[in-house]
């Protein structure tokens, strides 16, 4: 009886955590690429690693997918240890790397078939599964075309389809939108959302684009190999504090007086009045009422992840023109141009 209960507890804990990481670390010589990170990802969650170049995002993914050996801590995927049970882990993860990893001398279908065989998708299910993932990323019409004829965006989407082919528990996406134009990026995130909805997969992604991190249920901000903050986008922004509403009026002093009388926290800023309040947008009608005329413009600013990032790291995320400078990026471009 106690035995059973214990087993149940273990089973349910396992069910509650898809990625379980504690104290995970990787050193390259003197470089602490990843310096002891701890987090959990729940089933069906979209979890984002947000960090600047060289923060250790790719290194963490490489450890989670068994390509790099950790120098400290542990990581379990769906209950399997990346160090001692790499094959079990590999069978349960789908990967989209920072650089393209398709064989462009093969057709889309051949690339998928290769993957299906290596991942042990049963022969009877192979065809149906290939057709399904191609459909999910809307590439069915290009199944027989060589990947060398694909655009960068199409190749990326094919990689997502391939990552999902063997129904993994977790889909890892390492900076998946690098080198893609905004429109293609949006399409790609649609694909990811589809996969999550239709296949119930857990998603772990890394990015240094704020707007992309925003789609995640929870975000870990990583800097110099350490997690400096981890929470939902809303909660992270709440840390920064209230929304701000800037009003430009005919008579700022009068407006300020009325707002303060009404109990608002407000102050003069340059040519205008700034009000600090929760739910800035919702407050606009009441603010206008309070000021009672003479308002020439209203500007509501919600705290952004950019503010959050600045708050925790003391710098802007994109110090060097926003594109990753690592070899990964060069490689992705080279592969794309090939």
């Amino acid at each position: 009886m106690t035995q059973l209960a214990a087993a149940d507890t273990v089973a349910s804990t396992r069910g509650a955590v898809t990625i379980d990481v504690a104290g995970l670390a990787k050193r390259f010589g003197d470089t602490r690429a990843v310096d002891g990170v701890t987090f959990e990802v729940r089933p069906g969650e979209v979890f984002a690693f947000l960090g600047p170049n060289g923060a250790g995002k790719s290194t963490t993914i490489n450890m989670l997918c068994t390509l790099t050996r950790p120098t400290g801590g542990f990581a379990r995927i769906d209950g399997y240890d990346v160090l001692t049970q790499p094959d079990e882990v590999r069978a349960r993860i789908g990967l989209v790397f920072q650089e393209q990893t398709l064989d462009d001398q093969l057709t889309a279908e051949e690339n998928l078939r290769f993957h299906a065989v290596l991942y042990g998708v049963a022969r009877a299910e192979r065809r149906a599964r290939i057709e399904r993932v191609l459909e999910l990323v809307k590439l069915s019409a290009r199944a027989k075309d060589l990947v060398s004829t694909f655009s960068g965006g199409m190749a990326r989407r094919l990689e997502i389809a391939r990552g999902m082919l063997h129904t993994p528990a977790v889909l890892f996406l390492d900076e998946p939108t690098i080198g893609l134009d905004p429109q293609t990026r949006a399409l790609m995130w649609d694909d990811v959302a589809t996969m999550r909805r239709e296949e119930g997969v857990t998603v772990f992604l890394t990015t240094h684009y704020m707007d992309e991190a925003e789609i995640a249920d929870r975000i870990a901000i990583i800097d110099h190999g350490r997690i400096v903050a981890l929470d939902s986008p809303e909660a992270l922004k709440a840390v920064i504090g209230a929304d701000t509403v800037d009003l430009h009026t005919d008579d700022d002093d009068r407006a300020l007086g009325r707002l303060r009388d009404a109990g608002y926290r407000a102050e003069r800023v340059g040519e205008g009045v700034r009000i600090f309040t929760a739910d800035g947008e919702g407050q606009v009608p009441r603010l206008l009422e309070t000021v009672a005329g003479g308002v020439s413009s209203v500007h509501v600013h919600r705290p952004t992840l950019e503010d959050v990032f600045l708050h925790y790291t003391g710098r802007e995320i994109r110090e060097n023109d926003g594109e990753p400078t690592s070899s990964g990026w060069m490689r992705a471009r080279r592969a794309a141009r090939r």
Binding site: A6, A7, V10, A11, R14, G15, C65, T66, L67, T68, R69, D78, G79, D87, E88, R90, A91, R92, L95, F97, E99, Q100, T101, L102, D103, D104, Q105, L106, E110, R113, F114, H115, V117, L118, Y119, G120, V121, A122, R123, H166, T167, P168, A169, R331, R334, A335, R338
Partner: protein, 284 residues
């Protein structure tokens, strides 16, 4: 320690023969790429053709023929071997490209053993190399080399052994090379010397001592010789010519039989096959 129960069966059990299927799939990819890349087939034929006709005719006038048997006929099996060897090395080295363009990661992160991946790659490269060598046989009538059905099968068999050995070697080298630039170095420092010192292009008898030593240390020597021996076996080689254009290798005054040469090549293949698997099993 208690073992944890298996998680909900999202992932089906891996099917039977998973590793075998992996080998076949990796092998098939090599063939698809070979078949699709016709320019490569033509370019890799051009070099042996150049050797056969330019060197063959050029040297024939110099060397002359001995009792009606000329240098071109001697050269022919060597050129076939040469084309097998260079195709095998090129196929194996394509792993370096796979690494550069990311596809190697796709393979290495799959839940399949490294041994299966290396086996598939080696067999694929070897098949392609043997095919390429067999295409060369079409030139035999032009040179006046006589072919029989049995000979063709013997040649294909020997080509496969040779190709497996050289592809294993190439895969091993590729496992240690991280950059495309390294490939050039290997070609210059390993492949060309091996080809030139193998007896593919000149008889191995009556050489200066230093050259004799170098050729006997070269494993390729023992792969080229059997091919020439089986080809010569069905030609009409007058005794005088046989002495001049010797097909056999002597080691310490002992003429090596074909089977012993094959054992040596097989041992070479096995060593590098194991080293290649080890090379790809490293994880940093």
């Amino acid at each position: 320690m208690r073992t944890l129960p298996a998680p909900a069966a999202r992932v089906a059990e891996r099917p039977r023969w998973h590793e075998l299927r992996t080998v076949l799939m990796v092998w098939e990819r090599e063939l698809i790429r070979f078949e699709r890349n016709r320019t490569r087939i033509v370019t890799s034929l051009s070099q042996p053709l150049l050797f056969l006709f330019v060197l063959g005719y050029g040297m024939s006038t110099l060397v002359g023929s001995t009792a009606g048997f000329d240098f071109k006929k001697f050269l022919f099996p060597g050129i076939v071997a040469m084309s097998v060897v260079s195709t095998a090395i090129f196929s194996a080295i394509s792993i370096v490209w796979d690494r550069e363009f990311g596809f190697l990661r796709e393979m290495l992160v799959a839940p399949a053993s490294r041994a299966s991946l290396v086996t598939g790659k080696t067999l694929g490269g070897a098949t392609v190399a043997a095919l390429q060598g067999t295409i060369m046989l079409a030139l035999a009538p032009l040179i006046g080399v006589h072919l029989t059905v049995a000979l063709v099968f013997e040649v294909i068999g020997l080509e496969l052994v040779m190709a497996i050995a050289l592809t294993s070697f190439g895969v091993f080298v590729a496992s240690r090379i991280n950059r495309i630039e390294g490939f050039q170095v290997v070609m210059q420092l390993v492949l060309f010397p091996m080809l030139f010192l193998s007896g593919a292009l000149f008889p191995l008898s009556g050489l200066p001592t230093w050259l004799t030593v170098l050729t006997r240390l070269n494993p390729l020597t023992y792969a080229v010789a059997p091919l020439r021996q089986v080809v010569f076996a069905v030609q009409n080689v007058p005794p005088l010519a046989a002495a001049r254009f010797s097909a056999t290798v002597t080691l310490f005054g002992y003429v090596l039989p074909v089977w012993l040469e094959l054992v040596m090549v097989a041992a070479f293949a096995l060593i590098f096959f194991v080293l290649a698997i080890q090379g790809f099993s490293r994880r940093d």
